[in-house]
Each structure stands twice: as structure tokens, then as C-alpha cells.
Amino acid sequence: MSIKLVTRNFDRPDSHTLRVYREGGGYETLRKVLATRTPQEVVEEVKRSNLRGRGGAGFPTGMKWSFVPRETGKPVYLCVNADEGEPGTFKDRFILEQDPHMLLEGIGIAAYAIGARYAYLYLRGEFVEAGRRVEDAIAEACEAGLLGSDLPDSKFSLDLYVHYGAGAYICGEETALLESIEGKKGWPRVRPPFPAVKGLFGSPTVINNVETLAKVPHILEKGAAWFSALGTEKSGGTKLFPVSGKVNRPGLYEYPLGTPLRTIIDEGAGGVSAGKKIKGVIPGGASCPVLTADEIDVPMDYDALAKVGSMLGSGAIIVLDEETSMLKTLLNLERFFAHESCGQCTPCREGTRWIVQVLERIAAGKGAPEDPDLLLDIAAHMAGRTLCPLGDAAAGPVRSFVTKFREEFLDPLNSM
């Protein structure tokens, strides 16, 4: 059953304004946290909530915060990842446009917890409306004395900068994002060192996704136990699921983690359009291996999806019906990755292009019997061998599509 936390104000008129946000008790949690909890307590609360990062990797948020070394003499930075660019994914944008203050309250609490005096919000450059709303919200919050320097009665102050991306998907990868904020080309950095130790401008840095941070006020308001109980044993709370593809009601749905994929498609998105059958579902955005129709009873949480060989990723569900060409779908996805590969590391730079070329050749009716295996082999040599996860993201779909729908990669006529 759908539960509205992050989306609770979305239907209200002027949901993006401070007035509406405050009517629902907005910023009360931040105020209370600042007055009554130590940063350490906030980190512990978030740890207990089992909140996992909503940006794709699902890393436990409280643990990430606890890695920040204290007293290094350097500033600590919080970077908000609002670069949402993965095909199929449109959840953070809704938060930014419909309820930016919820995000800002979460940013305030997170910054307090990790001891950040400055925060950057890295916004996808194409999100013009979202940018306007966020900047307005920041102005409103500062004017109301909720954010900014010299907050009344508080040892806490926070300056938040909005940094616009210039159109590269890779800048959503957290270390490329840091490079980009530093004014450099968005090339992911090699780890170690990890950003928690040496991040933005060489200082300890936490990077969190918009949805992750929008969850934080709810945890601090209602408690870790309550939040954690919403989800599964290891993944607490609700998740936003953008649903697209061949469904009757494409859109954004919020469900507890662990809700079966089928429920979200049928109950939330109104089932497959035109009474067609499902051929496959991409469960978590472009980089997640595709599931077959038989696999869609899987509970939508990090561990269950890993068990069936896929990922929760960003939670973006893309439904492919029986008429969809898997060859063309994969070609579409791989063109995206080839276009967005930063080009820094060899297997991803060369592999993504090679994959696209092979797929294009098959689509042009010039496929060869060994092509499916060639595709699998190229992908196998990218997976786990690239500098950043984009290489894996590009390899995953190839391996799942070609394995599960092999015949469509042999004869182009079958896949029209």
C-alpha cells in the first residue's frame, strides 16, 4: 500500500512555498534537533533507521555520516546530489519542484549531524524550473532565519550554494560531481581516498541524494524505529518509484521498501497499457539488469533485487510490453551510456562504443551468429574493471538483455 512521506504535500496547491511547508509543521524538526540533540545523536538515529542512500548504491546513510573524521581542522562539506539524469528516473526533480523545503530541512539536519558549515546543491542544469524553486526556497528560508549564517539562538549556521551542472550524466557520480564543483572536467576520481576523508577541495565530504535527504526530517520527527518498520529488515522507510513505459498511469509513486514490483505496476501505475502482456521490466533505472515477466513478484528492496541479479538503483521502473523490441531497447540504453561515458578509462570508453556498434549492426540486419556471445564477452570485460560504476551500469543491461532475450539478438526481423 502506498504511504506518503516525501510526497505528502505534492497534491497541495503551492506545495513548494514556505507557508504551505510550515502549515504541515515544516522546519519544526530542524528546530528541535538543533535545540535538543547532539550531532552524534542524530547520526545514531539515522543509523538505527536503516535509511539507505536513494541515489542508486543504497549505502547506509547513517554509516556514511559516521565516516566523516572530526577535528581535522578542515571544513566539512555536504554535497546534495540533484543531478538526476538516469533514463527513467524522475523522482528528485519532483521533490525539488514540489517540496524544496522538505529537502532544505533535511539538508539542515544532515549538515548539523556531520558538522558541515557549507553545503553545495549540485543541480542538473536542465532542471530550470527546479532550480528556480530551490533558489526561491533558499531565499525564503534564509529570510525566515531558518538557514544561513548567524542563525538566531543557535551554534549552527549553514550556507547552501546551488551549482548548476552542464549536461553530463557522469557528473551525478559523486566524485565527478566534486570535480565539477571544483571547476574541473567531470572525471570520476579513483578511490581511495574516499570523499568522506578527502572530498571537495580536499576536505571531508558527504554526498547524498535528494531523496535520501528528504527522508531525514521524517526520521528525526517520528523516530528511527517507526521509519525502519516501514521497510524491510535491512532497508528502512519508503521509496519513490518513478514508473514509465507501457503502463496506464506512468508517474511517481511512493511505497515502502519491500513492496512487490507487481503491486507497484498494477496498483500504482494501473497495469500494462492496452491489455498487453509484460515482456520485461527494468526495476531501477537504465543501469539495472532487466527482469523477465516471471520475475516481477520480487520485493522492491536492495537485497531482494540483488538476489535475482538486478538492483534497486534509483527505483525507476520501466515496463516493456510484449511488443517492445529488446534489441532496440538495449541499443537505446547503450547509446546513452556510450554518449555519457566520460572516456577516462579504457574498458568503458571503448567497450560502450563497441557494444553500440555491434547492436547497430544487428539492428541493420547484418548480425552474425556469434554476436550475442561477443556482446556478453565485451560486457564481461567491462564489469568490475572500470574506474567508476558507469562501466558496470553499461555492462549490466547487456548481460541481462542478451542472456534473457538471446533470440532477439540473433535475428533482427524477430525484434522489429
Partner: protein, 516 residues
């Protein structure tokens, strides 16, 4: 200090060392493109992946710090598979240029393919087409198709020279290395990026299409063009015939020496290779006959020099002769000068050249304003420390006013320090100018005798650099035509001056003694 095992060999290293550095120390070679010990490690080419026990994925050796008890394998199935696949990926968009590529023979891609890959090509699609000739600067040209995008060149300029001149533009397989718009590579160290480039993407316009590298032999010498004394490799072709205008030396490259120059040299030193077989080299001893300098052979020329020296000393005493010894000579030469001219002949009017070239610049990288390589060596040989130029000017004044009847100058590049060549013009009272050096110069017009000396790469000896580091080198090449090492010239001269106690000259480059 963590101890780890690499291929069953144990090594203990400082914390913070990477697996690559530890393996290099053990002499276990892990192939690489982007890693270079003189630059930051970026882990991007993925060629150096190794297996580390207890870690499921392969790790890049160049960026993985060692940990106590780590067990690394560099030769497993999985590692070989990774190497093969990185090479396959790199080669799908690589042109088949080896037959016309200057890097062939010392190219990482070629070598690694032979060593680790040798697969049957599977790539049937269309190769990426990029620019074949992109002039990046006066000395460097880029072939975009050969570039493996390792970013070594970008990092070199950024990290070593502090200049952001190069960047990799675009994304994915469209990525291409270039200068930033409107910029050209004119930085005084940019020659290093040609050495650094693991493939034939960056080539040196002076070396382009000149030689196949396997025709070249490598000798080791010291750069004589400033007080740093960078360690260089001299790449030469033994079979070149200078008589038909072939050159012998085709390039200088840096030799790693952590105490002196690290991994690099400056372009001033690098491109000095061209002087070695330059048309302006002095090739044979000459004597003035009327208006012309006439080739006269060592025997005759040196006899004449000896006779003139004797005459001047007999008539005017040691005060009548001046000597300028530039710190471009070896310690051995300096000692011999001291023995011959100071101890035996008693000269007092001796100068060692000004230390500062007014036009020279100095930087915090390598280049020193003192453009001579062996000022410290002259001090070691007993010459006074430091010559602000006043002493040299004093000697020249003595010459101009006719007090000095015979001026003997050893070493190249003196006139550059003075405003006019006319400092050397013959004083009205007449006078004998003897120049012993390697290259022609405008002041040759005033010389009575020209004694061609060998250049540093043709000489064995040692220099003491500005930090007191003594560096010994041997001769890479025989001296050009009739030229001789300074030490040998002076040895012969002292015999002709009839001086006793002078050791017989036993220079390894000594050409056959002339008859008569």
C-alpha cells in the same frame, strides 16, 4: 612498515606505498599506460590490474595502497585476461600505423600486445577517424588516432610545470587530447611529454621520420647547458656518416636521477643534441695565415701555440698572458689547466667567466641561471669560488689595452656574456688570441689559432653541479672529425712546452697520435 607478498616475494615498504611502487622495487613489471612515477596516479587506463587475495575484483596496482599482510598476484589467468582485454579495447580504435610511427620499437602498446595479447581480432566495425596531424607547438605534433588518452601529458604540464595547456576534450570514445583554444605548446619543458607519451601520439617534430628507434644506441651523459647537470641519454646512430651530412645524435632524453633532475630535462638541454654534429662545429685545428684561418693539423698548430706561449712568457713574463677557463670543462680539464698554466707556467691573469647570463632565466623546476655545468668542479680544482664577471672583464680589459699579449680561452659560449664580440678584437698593440672550443663563433675572426674541442657527449669526465653533486660520465661518441677532448689537447700542449712530470695523456677517446 607494512610487509606484503607479490608473486611469492616478500617486501617491506613505507606506509602509503602503492602495489605498483612495491612491485617496481622488486623488479616485477606490471604493464601500465597512465601511471608514471613522476606524476599523480589516476588509475584510468586499467592496464595494471592485479589480483589481491581476499578482494574479489581485480585492483589497479597503481592506485592500491599496500596493507600489512597483503598477497598480490600479477600473473594469474584473470590478470592476463584483463591485460588482454584492455589491449583489445585500446586497439579497436587504433590505427595500424606502426610502419610509419616514430614510437614503433619503444611503444607500450606494441610491446604489450606482443607480450600479453596476440589475440585474433574480433572487431569488425568502423574505426574512429580522428586528425592525424595536429601541430600543438613548434616542437610537438599530435596524432589523435594513436592517443590512448592516458592523460600523462596533461598531468605533466599541470603538475610539473603548473600550466594547464592541454586537456582532453569531449567524452567517451569521442575524447580527444588538444591544447586549450588559442594556446600552443611553447613551455620550456614540453619536450618531456613526447618521452612520456606511451604511444606515438605525441612526436617530436625534430625527430619525426628521422630514424627507427631500433637503429639507435643509447649512451649516457650529462647535460652541459646549466648548473643543474641533468642526466641525459644520448641516442645516436653508430652507422651515421657525418661526412655526408648525416647526424650521429638524434635526440637527448632524460635519465632518472632523483638527486639531480628527477625524471625530466628542459627543452634547452634537450634540443642541444643538434649542436653535436652541427655545421658550426669546429672540425680541425686551424692557424691564421693572413686573413684566413687554414686547417693545419694538430702537430703544427700545437707546436705554434707552444712556441707563441714560450715567446710571450720569455719576453713579458707570466703577466703577459691571460687565460679564460669557462666552467663548461670537466674537473679533469680544470686540474690540468691549473697544473699547466698556474703551477708550471705561473700565470696570474686567470678568469673563469661570469656566473650570470644576463639574458638567462631560472625557474623552480630545473633550469639554473648559471648556464655552466661545472662551476663547482673548477673550485674543486683550485680556482677561486665565484667570478662575478669583474675578473673576466679585467682580463679582457688587459687584453684590450695591450697589457695581455696572449689570451687563451677554453670553453664555448663566452661572448654571449659580453655586449660585443669586439671585446675580443685584436688590440692595436697586436696580440695573440687562442680559442679552444667546440663551435664556431663571430670572434673567430680575431683568433690566431683555433683548437677544436670535443663536446660533453664526446668526453669523459665529471662535473660538480650547483648543489655540490659530483657526476661522472664517459664519452658516448668519438669526437667529431679532428676535435679532441680538452684534457688531451692540454696534455699534448704541455709535452710540447717541454714540461716534466706531466702524465702521459691516456684519454679513452684519444685519436691516434699524429706522426712527426
Amino acid at each position: 612498515m607494512p610487509t606484503l607478498m607479490i608473486d611469492d616475494r616478500k617486501i617491506t615498504v613505507e606506509p602509503g606505498t602503492t602495489v605498483m611502487q612495491a612491485a617496481d622495487r622488486l623488479g616485477i613489471f606490471i604493464p601500465r599506460f597512465c601511471y608514471h612515477p613522476g606524476l599523480s596516479a589516476v588509475g584510468s587506463c586499467r592496464m595494471c590490474m592485479v589480483e589481491v587475495e581476499k578482494i574479489p575484483k581485480l585492483q589497479t596496482a597503481c592506485t592500491t595502497p599496500v596493507v600489512e599482510g597483503m598477497v598480490v598476484h600479477t600473473y594469474t589467468e584473470q590478470v592476463m585476461d584483463a591485460r588482454r582485454s584492455v589491449l583489445e579495447f585500446l586497439l579497436i580504435n587504433h590505427p595500424l600505423d606502426c610502419p610509419i610511427c616514430d614510437k614503433a620499437g619503444e611503444c607500450y602498446l606494441q610491446d604489450d600486445y606482443m607480450e600479453y595479447a596476440r589475440y585474433t581480432p574480433r572487431y569488425k566495425e568502423t574505426r574512429w577517424k580522428k586528425r592525424k596531424v595536429h601541430i600543438l607547438g613548434p616542437t610537438i605534433v599530435m596524432d589523435e588516432e594513436r592517443c590512448v588518452l592516458c592523460s600523462r601529458c596533461v598531468r605533466f604540464l599541470q603538475e610539473v610545470t603548473g600550466k594547464q595547456r592541454l586537456g582532453i576534450f569531449e567524452r567517451g570514445a569521442r575524447s580527444v587530447l588538444s591544447t586549450f583554444p588559442g594556446q600552443t605548446l611553447t613551455d620550456p619543458y614540453c619536450g618531456n611529454i613526447v618521452d612520456l607519451c606511451p604511444v606515438g601520439a605525441l612526436t617530436d617534430r625534430t625527430f619525426r621520420f628521422q630514424q627507427r628507434v631500433w637503429m639507435l644506441r643509447r649512451g649516457e651523459s650529462i647535460c652541459p647547458y646549466c648548473a643543474r647537470g641533468c642526466n641525459i641519454a644520448v641516442d645516436y646512430n653508430e652507422r651515421s656518416d657525418v661526412q655526408i651530412n648525416d647526424r650521429r645524435v638524434y635526440r637527448f632524453r632524460p635519465r632518472f636521477n632523483p638527486k639531480v633532475n628527477g625524471h625530466w630535462i628542459c627543452d634547452r638541454g634537450r634540443y642541444a643534441y643538434r649542436f653535436i654534429d652541427d655545421a658550426r662545429r669546429l672540425r680541425e685545428p686551424m692557424l691564421r695565415e693572413g686573413k684566413r684561418l687554414v686547417p693545419s693539423g694538430w702537430e703544427r698548430t700545437l707546436k705554434r701555440v707552444a712556441r707563441r706561449i714560450r715567446e710571450v712568457l720569455d719576453t713579458f713574463g707570466p703577466e703577459g698572458m691571460g687565460l679564460i677557463l669557462l666552467p663548461s670543462v670537466t674537473i679533469g680539464t680544470a686540474r690540468r689547466v691549473r697544473k699547466l698554466f698556474v703551477d708550471d707556467l705561473g700565470l696570474t691573469r686567470i678568469a673563469t667567466g661570469p656566473s650570470i647570463d644576463p639574458e638567462a632565466d631560472e625557474d623552480s623546476i630545473l633550469l639554473r641561471r648559471d648556464r655552466f655545468p661545472n662551476r663547482g668542479g673548477l673550485v674543486a680544482a683550485g680556482f677561486p669560488d665565484g667570478d662575478p664577471g669583474a675578473v673576466t672583464e679585467g682580463v679582457l680589459r688587459g687584453w684590450a689595452t695591450g697589457k695581455i699579449k696572449l689570451l687563451y680561452v677554453i670553453g664555448d659560449d663566452l661572448p654571449r656574456f659580453f655586449e660585443e664580440t669586439s671585446s675580443f678584437s685584436i688590440p692595436s698593440a697586436g696580440g695573440i688570441l687562442i680559442l679552444q672550443r667546440s663551435m664556431e663563433g663571430p670572434e673567430d675572426d680575431f683568433a690566431r689559432m683555433l683548437l677544436p674541442s670535443a663536446m660533453t657527449a664526446e668526453t669523459a669526465g665529471s662535473f660538480v653541479n650547483f648543489e655540490g653533486e659530483e657526476q661522472t660520465f664517459s664519452a658516448v661518441l668519438p669526437p667529431l672529425e679532428e676535435a679532441l677532448p680538452d684534457e688531451e689537447i692540454l696534455g699534448r700542449l704541455s709535452l710540447l712546452l717541454g714540461l716534466k712530470g706531466e702524465e702521459a695523456c691516456r684519454h679513452e677517446n684519444s685519436v691516434e697520435e699524429e706522426q712527426g
